[in-house]
């Protein structure tokens, strides 16, 4: 177990290195220059000397490979550099915005799993019936509707029908969890719908497969109650592929969050990302990508651990 964790963490290093390299060079071939954007924002057109001086101050005049080396050395010491725009450490900026994004992400994951497992199971058990069709149409809706649009619609419906708006401010998870829940539930549903749609389809087909398995026939031959067969034999076996899907689709979830934070005016990492892009603040963009990669790797490690906890055939080692 410990050896497995160590190996997995060691494996994360080349993954991160690859992502870091890719993002660094991709940003450097993109057009746009932080210094110029920044100086223009202060008004007028800056002189060539001023731009050069500012670039020298930020270290942008050095050869690309030296900058790359700096970036990697920084990574090792968990130093993601300073924002070119505000001059603050990137890690500080990211950590300020990360909690709300993670809270929405976890909440939408919970919403998605809570919806998908029962619905997928029911659809699989009653394959071909009208309830199966209803659930499948629901699932197709989740995949077809863009989450930002769906988010706006539910926000408007809540406003018109119930005259309800999510509370403003930034309640903390520790001090006022209920208020936080109210604030985050709509974006969580908007993003979680799509997430759940994918999981429903996975769960449904796994349940259908499991129903044809020999061990389910054995369970029926034992004379077990249907509820017991479903609960003890069908569902646990169907969860295995679904859990793998949860990890893979987490990346998609983060992508949707960038947009949904705009719709619901949440000051999360997606917001920060869009700001950074509009300012060509490469350091911040790099930092966000690295942090999200770490989170993605961590989520998938957790998924694999959950898999091993359910399936005795998987030995971690």
């Amino acid at each position: 177990m410990i050896r497995y964790l160590r190996n997995r963490l060691l494996l994360a290093i080349p993954t991160l290195l690859g992502v870091a390299t890719l993002i660094f060079f991709m940003l450097n071939v993109l057009p746009g220059d932080t210094v110029e954007t920044m100086l223009r924002a202060e008004g007028g057109s800056p002189s060539v000397e001023l731009v050069a001086a500012e670039r020298a101050r930020l270290g942008l005049d050095r050869p690309l490979l030296v900058q790359y080396g700096d970036f990697l050395t920084g990574l090792v010491t968990l130093d993601l550099g300073h924002s070119h725009w505000t001059g603050k450490p990137v890690i500080e900026e990211v950590m300020l915005r990360l909690p709300i994004t993670l809270e929405v992400a976890v909440l939408s994951m919970i919403v998605a799993i809570a919806v998908a497992v029962p619905l997928g199971t029911i659809a699989g058990l009653y394959q071909g019936s009208s309830i199966d069709y209803a659930i499948r149409i629901f699932a197709i809706g989740g995949i077809a509707l863009p989450s930002f649009w769906f988010g706006m619609i539910i926000a408007l419906v809540m406003l018109w029908s119930f005259n309800w708006l999510p509370p403003l401010g930034s309640p903390s998870l520790m001090k006022d969890p209920f208020r936080l829940l109210q604030q985050l539930i709509l974006p969580a549903i908007a993003v979680g719908y799509r997430y759940s749609a994918i999981l429903i389809r996975m769960m449904r087909s796994s349940v259908i497969d499991a129903l044809h398995e020999d061990y389910v026939r054995t369970a029926r031959a034992k004379g077990l109650r249907v509820a017991r067969i479903v609960w003890r034999h069908v569902v646990p076996n169907s969860l295995l592929p679904t859990i793998t899907m949860i990890g893979l689709e987490f990346a998609l979830l983060i992508g949707s969050l960038v947009v949904i934070e705009q719709v619901f005016s949440l000051n999360g990492i997606g917001r920060l990302f869009i700001e950074a892009v509009s300012r060509s603040d490469f350091m911040v963009i790099q930092g966000i990508v690295i942090v999200l990669t770490v989170i993605f790797i961590a989520v998938n490690l957790l998924v694999d651990l959950a898999y091993a906890a359910i399936d005795p055939r998987i030995e971690l080692g």
């Binding site: 054995t218 031959a221 017991r228 076996n237």
Partner: protein, 690 residues
């Protein structure tokens, strides 16, 4: 999909009503289970497929009834229908009557039926590998029916589960309870399945091909166990099987099924010794046997078992029957002899005798064994290095000679390394050591261009004829492709002519070139596999379990084809199989493998008539045979326990852990091969003992 209704009648009530009815019978005890006029229909697309037709049978306490037939005859479907386990009531319909202790349970609502299942009537399935839930412990799975039907507490259930595991011969039962299915071998899992079936002391057990997936020594252990449990606990067992030899050894009565109907039934002795139906007769003749002198040719039934989609009108067997007449186009009724044997045939066989087989035409003396070998294998070894460290020594020190124009049979249980030998010789994987000399050149060290030539001369026929043919290629294309690739035919027209020649050779119609593999039967596909190998004009064909996926009647056809081609084309075979009777039938020299080593090698006569290695003897004793009917009481399972893991093979003689005559010396030294004659070598230090 499930039709659940709340309990209409308590099971206790049902059970109390029963004894009153059973008392009324005369001399024969009333049957525990009696099935009358069972019909099963599947709805497929728009048509109804009548897969089981008017099947009736009954089983009494302490009795084993065998339901025997080839694939597609409806025997498994019948058993599922009797359990009321046919999956979807929308697409399957079954009618008829099934009485358990006199009570017709087909009429019961599903909820009451559920309470019978696992409690009064239990089932054991074919595939022990997939029939247990991989995520639950063994203990949990055995206890489930006890919780459900007997309302036992956890500690009571655990105590009973330990008892049951002991009863089915599993050592260290306390520890097994906490293990998961993947930690047990196939034989152990089947024992667990039996323990589950016994959990609530059922009256009747239905076992659907319970040993088909298991090795022959394990098969003997499992069926001996089932037989003793049936006698001891006085349950009725319905044994569903395709293997007539198993019937001979274990069943009290037998019903033979063909095309969804029971065509003959009676006591095992009646049916096997004086079969009346022509199908039973043909089937009995098609089985290769170890207990009678070898036949020059197997008698085969022409054609193939009909598909349930279009069973022939009248007697379904008439298109394959040698004595069919006009009358056979109408349906024969079951008629009974004065001894109670029943058969549905207008032209019953009355003279068939086992004795007819016992005095065969003399088989010409073998001179093949003394000829020079076409392939000479010396010291062949193959190690697999595992990622996690450690080495599996899959095969070690293999010495074999394939005689020119003859057949070397390689036999052994699963995991003994026989397929590794084939793959290594075909250069599909590199050998770790040894030489294999074919016509003066060593295959194992051949260069790429030499190998290309050798591959033409050495061809292969695989076990599964379906997965070894490309499903998207028509047969014509499959057969022509290698001819063109190797430049044996100049153009497509020449290739087409050659393909037709090949089809004639293996006895397939020429128009089959337009078909796809899924449009053909298993026997036809295997003929295509053989034709593909023959296309290269090979001198040696390596056959890896070529008939084990086929039905008995088809198996006999293919075996005869192999024999004919050998004579006609002067081929040599390396014939790999697990079925000893098949190997004996085709081979001139036979090698017995165990855990990667050759235990004994000799001519057919030496190995089968004077076996010296205890493993060979145990294998021969474990194989059931049609003649076993006459010596039922013997203990068969001479070999105890499971095959050791190849990862950690026993020191010294690899067989000593299961050997009945092993001593301390066997544990320390690897026995050298002792030559008993020019052809007979035995790797056992006790081989000199009689």
């Amino acid at each position: 999909m499930y039709n659940e209704r709340s309990g209409m009648m308590d099971m206790g009530e049902v059970m109390e009503q029963i004894p009153a009815k059973t008392g009324a019978s005369d001399d024969a005890p009333a049957p525990l289970l009696s099935v009358r006029n069972l019909n099963v229909q599947f709805r497929a697309n728009d048509s109804l497929v009548h897969i089981v037709r008017d099947v009736s049978f009954e089983v009494r306490a302490g009795e084993i009834l065998a339901l025997v037939g080839e694939s597609g005859c409806g025997k498994s479907v019948s058993s599922l229908a009797v359990m009321r386990l046919l999956s979807d009531p929308k697409t399957t319909r079954f009618t008829g009557e099934a009485r358990l202790l006199g009570k017709d349970y087909f009429a019961l609502p599903e909820e009451d039926m559920r309470r019978l299942r696992g409690r009064d009537i239990a089932m054991i399935f074919q595939e022990p590998m997939t029939s247990l839930n991989p995520l639950l412990t063994i203990g949990r799975q055995i206890a489930e029916p006890m919780f459900e039907h007997l309302r036992l507490t956890a500690s009571q259930a655990q105590a009973r589960a330990i008892d049951l595991l002991t009863k089915v011969g599993i050592t260290d039962p306390e520890r097994r309870l906490t293990q998961y299915p993947h930690e047990l071998s196939g034989g152990m899992r089947q024992r667990v399945m039996i323990a589950i079936a016994l959990a609530c002391n059922p009256k009747v057990i239905i076992a659907d091909e319970p040993t088909t997936a298991l090795d022959v020594t394990i098969q003997a252990q499992i069926l001996d166990l089932l037989q003793s449990l049936v006698r001891e606990m006085n349950v009725g067992l319905v044994l569903i099987t395709h293997n007539l030899a198993l019937v001979a050894r274990y069943a009290d009565r037998v019903s033979v099924m063909y095309a969804g109907k029971i065509v003959e039934s009676g006591t095992t002795r009646q049916v096997l010794e004086t079969p009346h139906h022509r199908y039973t007769e043909g089937l009995l003749a098609a089985v290769p046997r170890l207990d009678v002198p070898r036949q020059a040719r197997l008698q085969s039934i022409p054609g193939q078992p009909p598909s349930p989609r279009n069973f022939p009108q009248g007697c379904a067997f008439h298109p394959r029957c040698p004595v069919a007449s006009e009358a056979c186009h109408s349906q024969p009724e079951l008629s009974a002899t004065d001894k109670g044997q029943r058969y549905a045939c207008f032209h019953p066989a009355m003279t068939w005798q086992v004795a007819a087989l016992a005095s065969p035409a003399p088989v010409p003396a073998d001179d093949r064994v003394v000829r020079s070998p076409v392939l000479q294998v010396r010291g062949l070894a193959k190690d697999f290095h595992l990622k996690r460290g450690g080495t599996v020594r899959a095969i070690q020190g293999i010495d074999l000679d394939v005689p020119e124009g003859g057949t070397l049979g390689l036999v052994g249980e699963s995991g003994c390394g026989k397929t590794t030998v084939a793959r290594t010789l075909l250069h599909l994987q590199a050998a770790s050591a040894g030489t294999a000399t074919f016509r003066g050149s060593n295959i194992l060290s051949a260069s790429k261009s030499e190998l290309l030539k050798l591959r033409q001369k050495i061809q292969v026929v695989y076990q599964d004829p379906f997965t070894s043919l490309n499903p998207r290629h028509r047969i014509g294309q499959t057969l022509a492709e290698p001819l063109l690739v190797h430049g044996l035919c100049a153009d497509k027209r020449a290739a087409r002519a050659r393909v037709e020649e090949l089809l004639d050779l293996v006895g397939l119609p020429r128009d089959i070139t337009e078909r796809y593999p899924h449009q053909m039967s298993g026997g036809q596909r295997q003929r295509v596999g053989i034709a593909r190998a023959l296309g290269m004009k090979p001198e040696l064909i390596i056959c890896d379990e070529p008939v084990s996926a086929l039905d008995v009647s088809i198996q006999a056809q293919i075996m005869n084809l192999f024999a004919d081609l050998r004579t006609k084309l002067g081929l040599s075979y390396l014939f790999i199989a697990h079925d000893l009777a098949v190997v004996r039938h085709i081979s001139d020299i036979v090698a017995v493998m165990y855990l990667g080593r050759v235990m004994e090698i000799g001519t057919r006569a030496e190995l089968f008539e004077r076996p010296r290695h205890p493993y060979t003897r145990a294998l021969l004793a474990a194989v059931p045979s049609l003649g076993d009917e006459n010596r039922k009481s013997q203990a068969h399972a001479v070999v105890k326990g499971d095959l050791p893991s190849p990862l950690n093979p026993p020191a010294g003689c690899v067989f000593h852990t299961r050997c009945p005559i092993a001593t301390g010396a066997c544990r320390s030294a690897i026995p050298p091969a002792i030559a008993l004659s020019q052809t007979h070598r035995v790797a056992c230090i006790k081989a000199e003992c009689p």
